[in-house]
């Protein structure tokens, strides 16, 4: 295999190296790649918002489907622009309050359901050592998250068992994720050595 003649492969490879140069120290190449990434992603984001939100959820329902209920969220959205006017900037708090309130309210039932699913999943269907460890792990971890009790004496000992379970879980998750990250790194190296330089097949 020979070195790539595609301009896009070259751009990708040089930008990859520019980002990796951060491992040495901050430098103009990294800055260039960083600003390019941030700038392009903002531009891309605006076009996505334009098509997926403004056109699909506002313009089309309003103009084509005559769904005038869309005017309510549209007005709430427009209130965000009041921040540009000092005397009216407080109006932008209305849509923010609406979003935070609705988001929190909607997440409460789903949080409960998620909790019950976890409790259900913890229930043992057979008496095995594995199931017993899961039960002990869950209960001691819950006790670690008791905030209104001092972690001393029996509660202290149990919560220490709980944090040990948490750390074991973290260790396993850490190793698992690192493996995934290494495979991403290998993918990038393969791109540089194969697609760009053609050193390996």
């Amino acid at each position: 295999m020979a070195i790539s003649t595609s301009i896009w492969i070259w751009i990708s490879a040089l930008l990859t190296l520019a980002i990796y140069s951060f491992l040495y120290k901050d430098n103009p190449f990294y800055k260039f790649a960083e600003y390019l990434l941030v700038g392009i992603s903002i531009g891309y984001g605006i076009s996505v918002y334009w098509h997926n939100t403004i056109i699909t959820k506002v313009y089309n329902p309003l103009v084509h489907d005559k769904d005038f209920l869309v005017i309510i969220p549209l007005l709430l959205g427009l209130l965000m622009f009041s921040r540009f006017f000092k005397n009216y900037s407080h109006l932008s708090r209305i849509p923010i309050a609406f979003i935070v309130g609705a988001g929190t309210g909607l997440s409460i039932p789903s949080s409960f359901e998620f909790l019950f699913k976890q409790v259900q999943g913890t229930m043992p269907t057979a008496f095995t050592i594995g199931n017993l460890i899961i039960i002990i792990g869950v209960i001691t971890t819950l006790i670690y998250f008791f905030f209104s009790m001092e972690h001393k004496g029996f509660i202290g000992k149990v919560s220490r068992v709980g944090i040990t379970f948490i750390m074991i879980a973290f260790g396993a998750a850490f190793g698992y994720t690192i493996m995934a990250r290494i495979s991403l790194f290998i993918g990038r190296i393969q791109f540089l050595l194969s697609d760009w330089l053609g050193i390996i097949k």
Binding site: D26, V38, I42, V100, F112, S148, F170, G171
Partner: protein, 433 residues
């Protein structure tokens, strides 16, 4: 033209034997029309139709049961509303036993509440061709027909089932447990609130990460460096982001008291606006509104790694003395925490994302694990009324532990030791949850 061709083939199929049809299908296929014809009498009205319970309307559930000989067949469902026919689903595995005809974002009036619908099933050994699908919804299709055929195979048609109407439910009974839990926790919260009002002292245990907030802000001030507060890549509707914003308020107050600078690079424009309001209010509360600069709370980008690259660059250039990572984080967590560590900043992290917590534990000085982050605002303020919510949550945890222990005992005696009574109780408990 195509419809005529299909009708012609249908006639041919009825005239000639099914074995001839097998030859027609040839091309190496194992079509066995005799097997199909033997099932013809049995299909009948095979679809059971019902309104989807506990929904907001606009949904019909279609169930069917078939004998084993037809389990490898494909099933296509046709809906009739007056004279209008529509394919609801095609080429489903007959063994799936169920499909739902529902409204979607693309078609919000697919199923209209109160309208009578009729459904018919078409069974085939192989995938249905587009010509047949078109034929199935054409006006000339005789819904009384039991079979049709094309060059490849014979299609078996069920009797039409229906009518069925969809309707919206007032209550989602599947969420009854959620309602009961919400009532219990509200009651507990109000009880502890009342106790706090009457002067009962409520305790909150030490959370090391939060004790270090003052130390981190103080250290940055002494070094003459700013503080960086990263809210992650969540939206303002995400609970960890809301918790992060609450902690931001407390940290900002300390920042204003110490007369230092806080930088908040944001991922989402609404989060940025909310953060600006939170910091502004905190500075005003601390009596230093003059120190507030809205440009210190800036938008970076809504691209995950673009955000990580931008924040990393900012960290290296601004060299903050303390970095707070409080909110919703995903794959960028280690990139941010490692950069913060490399510039020697004191780092206090917190998230509910269990996959990212190990990275924070490894790379940060203090980490708020899951609910510790939610308790942070109460801990930093130590308002007796807010402490009541923590006490109520703890009681809820005790209830969960009791349910788990009951489940453990029932699990051992029921599914474990096969005692029927406990087995029933165990299944009941699982159903309630």
């Amino acid at each position: 033209m195509k419809k005529n061709l299909v009708l012609l083939l249908l006639s041919l199929t009825l005239l000639f034997s099914f074995s001839f049809a097998q030859e027609q299908a040839s091309g190496g296929t194992d079509l066995n029309p005799n097997a199909i014809s033997s099932e013809t009498e049995r299909l009948g009205s095979m679809l059971q139709l019902s309104d989807i319970p506990n929904d907001g309307g606009g949904g019909i559930e279609i169930n069917w049961t078939l004998n084993d000989s037809l389990s490898n067949y494909f099933i296509t469902i046709i809906r009739r509303e007056g004279n209008i026919k529509k394919i609801v689903a095609s080429d489903l595995l007959a063994s799936s036993g169920q499909v739902r005809d529902v409204n979607s974002d693309e078609n919000k009036s697919n199923v209209k509440d109160g309208t009578e619908y009729f459904y018919t099933a078409v069974l085939s050994e192989y995938a249905v061709s587009q010509e047949i699908l078109d034929y199935l919804v054409c006006d000339s299709l005789d819904m009384e027909a039991m079979t049709i055929a094309d060059a490849n195979q014979v299609y078996l048609i069920s009797d039409e089932s229906g009518p069925v109407k969809s309707k919206a439910s007032w209550f989602n009974l599947e969420r009854l447990t959620v309602l009961i839990s919400a009532i219990i926790i509200t009651f507990l919260f109000l009880l502890y609130l009342q106790l706090a009002r009457k002067g009962k002292e409520l305790y909150i245990r030490k959370i090391s990460g939060l004790d270090a907030v003052e130390e981190a802000v103080g250290r940055s001030t002494e070094m003459g460096k700013p503080i960086m507060y990263i809210l992650g890549i969540g939206y303002v509707t995400d609970i960890p982001t809301i918790a992060g914003l609450t902690i931001l308020g407390r940290v900002s107050k300390k920042v204003a008291e110490y007369e230092t600078k806080i930088l908040v690079p944001s991922y989402d424009p609404v989060v940025m606006t909310t953060a600006q309001e939170v910091v502004k209010e905190a500075f005003t509360e601390a009596g230093r509104p003059d120190l507030y600069n809205k440009n210190d709370i800036m938008y970076i980008t809504q691209d995950q790694f673009g955000y990580a690259a931008g924040v990393d660059g900012m960290m290296l250039r601004e060299k903050p003395g303390a970095v707070f990572l409080q909110g919703l984080f995903f794959a960028e967590s280690l990139i941010l925490a490692e950069t913060g560590h490399s510039i020697g900043a004191i780092q206090i992290a917190g998230t509910t994302e269990t996959a990212q917590l190990p990275f924070f534990v490894a790379a940060c000085d203090y980490t708020l694990i899951g609910e510790e982050m939610m308790a942070a605002s109460v801990y930093l303020q130590k308002d007796p009324l807010m402490l009541s919510s923590i006490a109520a949550e703890d009681v809820m945890k005790v209830i969960i532990i009791i349910i788990l222990l009951i489940g453990l005992i029932l699990g051992i005696l029921g599914p474990g030791m096969h005692i029927e009574f406990f087995d029933k109780l165990f299944n009941l408990l699982i159903e309630i949850l």
